[in-house]
Symmetry: C2
Subunit: 516 residues, 2 copies
Amino acid sequence: MAAAMVRTMSTTAAGTPPVSVATINPKLVWVALICDRIAGRLKVSISVLKCEYAVRGEIVTHAQNLQQELQKNPESLPFDEILYCNIGNPQSLGQQPVTYFREVLSLCDHPALLDKSETHALYSSDAIERAWQILEKIPGRATGAYSHSQGIKGLRDEIAAGIAARDGFHASGDNIFLTDGASPAVHMMMQLLISSESDGILCPIPQYPLYSASIALHGGSLVPYFLNEETGWGLDVDELKKQLEEARSKGITVRALVVINPGNPTGQVLVEENQKKIVEFCKNEGLVLLADEVYQENIYVEDKPFHSFKKIARSLGYTDDDLPLVSFQSVSKGYYGECGKRGGYMEITGFSPDVREQIYKVASVNLCSNVSGQILASLVMNPPKAGDESFESFMSERDGILSSLARRAKALEEAFNSLEGITCNKAEGAMYLFPRLHLPQKAIGAAQAVGTAPDAYYAKRLLEATGIVVVPGSGFGQVPGTWHFRCTILPQEDKIPAIVSRLKEFHEKFMDEFRD
Amino acid sequence: MAAAMVRTMSTTAAGTPPVSVATINPKLVWVALICDRIAGRLKVSISVLKCEYAVRGEIVTHAQNLQQELQKNPESLPFDEILYCNIGNPQSLGQQPVTYFREVLSLCDHPALLDKSETHALYSSDAIERAWQILEKIPGRATGAYSHSQGIKGLRDEIAAGIAARDGFHASGDNIFLTDGASPAVHMMMQLLISSESDGILCPIPQYPLYSASIALHGGSLVPYFLNEETGWGLDVDELKKQLEEARSKGITVRALVVINPGNPTGQVLVEENQKKIVEFCKNEGLVLLADEVYQENIYVEDKPFHSFKKIARSLGYTDDDLPLVSFQSVSKGYYGECGKRGGYMEITGFSPDVREQIYKVASVNLCSNVSGQILASLVMNPPKAGDESFESFMSERDGILSSLARRAKALEEAFNSLEGITCNKAEGAMYLFPRLHLPQKAIGAAQAVGTAPDAYYAKRLLEATGIVVVPGSGFGQVPGTWHFRCTILPQEDKIPAIVSRLKEFHEKFMDEFRD
């Protein structure tokens, strides 16, 4: 493990050297050790061993153990609850589901209710109406049947109509693939694009580790491009070009560019001009643009509205013939935060019929995504409209959640920036802050002494002192020699003051302990 | 395409030669052509191109096109509906969901109902009670939160209790991984076991094409063993040994044995003595036993009760130390047939903590399976008990479905066996018949002339004449030179007489056209 640390540390001065999947995470040495230990009967696939997934990694396991300890012996730790700020899981931290969505799901799960008069005492009339409409779109009204492998056609058409209304450009249900959340959609595309490690995927650093994990599982190469922390996690097209050329010079065929907008873990929202340049870059270089747009509803600044990459491409006059484009969306994020429902879709445009057929084939091997998730995806893209019975209460729930998230983002950002040795860009969107730790040399030394990355060391100490779970920046990738952590903005608003004060108290003590 | 045909045909006389994934399906030549056509910008991964998934293949696409034609112009075809007998999708053919299960799901989707007195007018009291119990098992009662990546602990414990009650041996919730149906669980294990094409997986021929597809997608080698049609699709351990040795002699490291019991597409139920020999074989040869047990509730003969492989292994005195064993289960089959809910689990035993950690890691990359599917899996493994309010109506729905399935299996089997040139083993279990076509040489010639496998030719002609969709045996693999098709027993009982007469009429004309 020390070797990996040294390797990471020694690149500090070199600006932004290429980061391979193997150098992102020093834990890989540990993985190599395991590989040796799994001798004989069961050899685990190398690609599985190489895969890492930080947001559910070591620190979370440690937190789960502490939680069990807390249950057995509530007085044993210096806090009374674990606060999971490691993952964008709003309802686990108390966010309530949107009533209208749940009414419709509940009715579709038990369609016999629709024939009973008592149902009107329990459900809003527009939810009942909507459930009828949805059942009409499902062959045989069978919510328990496998659907078409792309998802139920009528629901895909409804989603396409929602996309068209959002973008002002045509969308087609034939281009929608409904999936169990966005993750399987990302895997599907990686499966399609990657044959061997000579196939590269350009990914932001820092990145959501789904991408590094999926590329590792499919045996490809992650080609990193660095977001610029100085310019609010700006995405610089010159950096894309530089990294593309460097990868090509090593014999890697770069197949696609991943852009996460709004950013995860970095929370920035791209401006239109920047997005245009990115589209041009993909078109000129023959890359598939994989646009992770799952945070499209989570924007907390007024001057940066969300623009889908498809809208940008179409507004530049580019058609299906000009570039292949995939947009990922999920019911897990936005104001709905329905992570447990596993709904989502990808919209694919600009692929030849041959390639589409291959995508369909991969989708068909898993038969279909869950029908409740499919229904929810259609609701999210076509929520109640003005005049509907539920419209006002729906809007009040929606706006309540989004404005509270904006306040929480601001409160936490200010708290981080008030601390010695922490700088934090604004969360313009998404559900995260990604503060930078300017750690004293002594703290770095203490981390090295126990064979841990300095940010992982900080996160572990934070957890043990406060019960707050954050993810070390090394799990997302970062400019070597810089240290960060990702913290969600999801704890309920009434808990924020206590979190801020626990955080401050811990941090001040930590700095007192290690100040150079 | 002709080359592939010749290759398949020329092996006819050779008894049971080894079948590689590449020789199962002549369509691969077409795939190679596509591979050449997808030039330039987007190269599709080789493993994706190699993957084939017959149950949603060419014939189904053809059927969907005919269905559209029928909608536009109802008089244009010689039948008035398409009957999808290609896939085990009971509710798409009119099977009704089990009321109690849907009541509980509906309540869990909208927990606010549980606080309202009107709810008692619409739901049975034990369903309300059960929904409360389930919510108590979910942290924060948040059915919309990502769960633990293995699934909600309380639900896993409930499933483990159901397994223990079924088998009479201990089971632990820690060994359960809840998944979106059985397919992702199979992929997860293939992902873990396969590093390269030198890793082999022993699979039955005929097999459910999920296995060949998943092995192809993960770049491994399918090592076939042939089921013996003469002995009712018997699984002969000598055949396993022969194929294992042959694969080893070619440098393939065989990692696991897939057994599907009750069989798919073959419908046989294994007897205890046979299962014991299979367990001994895996133990002696150091293979992981992958037991596909999704049809455990679908048995239509009284003298062959279902025994899980874990029960067999434990009754032989084997523990976790003796062999690694995976059992796959799904909410899509049984009497429930809830395919659209995508629920399922795998129970893994006999793996070291290191390997389990790797399995957990792969599970965590997709975060978790859908929570409704998790809840349903727990209901299926712990349905209403005697004394519960819903027990009698539940048992009546359950037994009604199962006894009807048994009658349908028998009626279709008898119909097939009454036809010239068709022989058909009994469906002892599962949801399928796999009749053998003894085709006249002239029919084989006619198929060859259009570059199609003879069973695919038959299936296409059947579809075009009757609207009945079956899957050609070549999609499952079969002894070269033999021809079959798979037909589900799922059309509703009142439709069976019409199906039988359409089938007979078509078949007689077909034979008249081609009789040598």
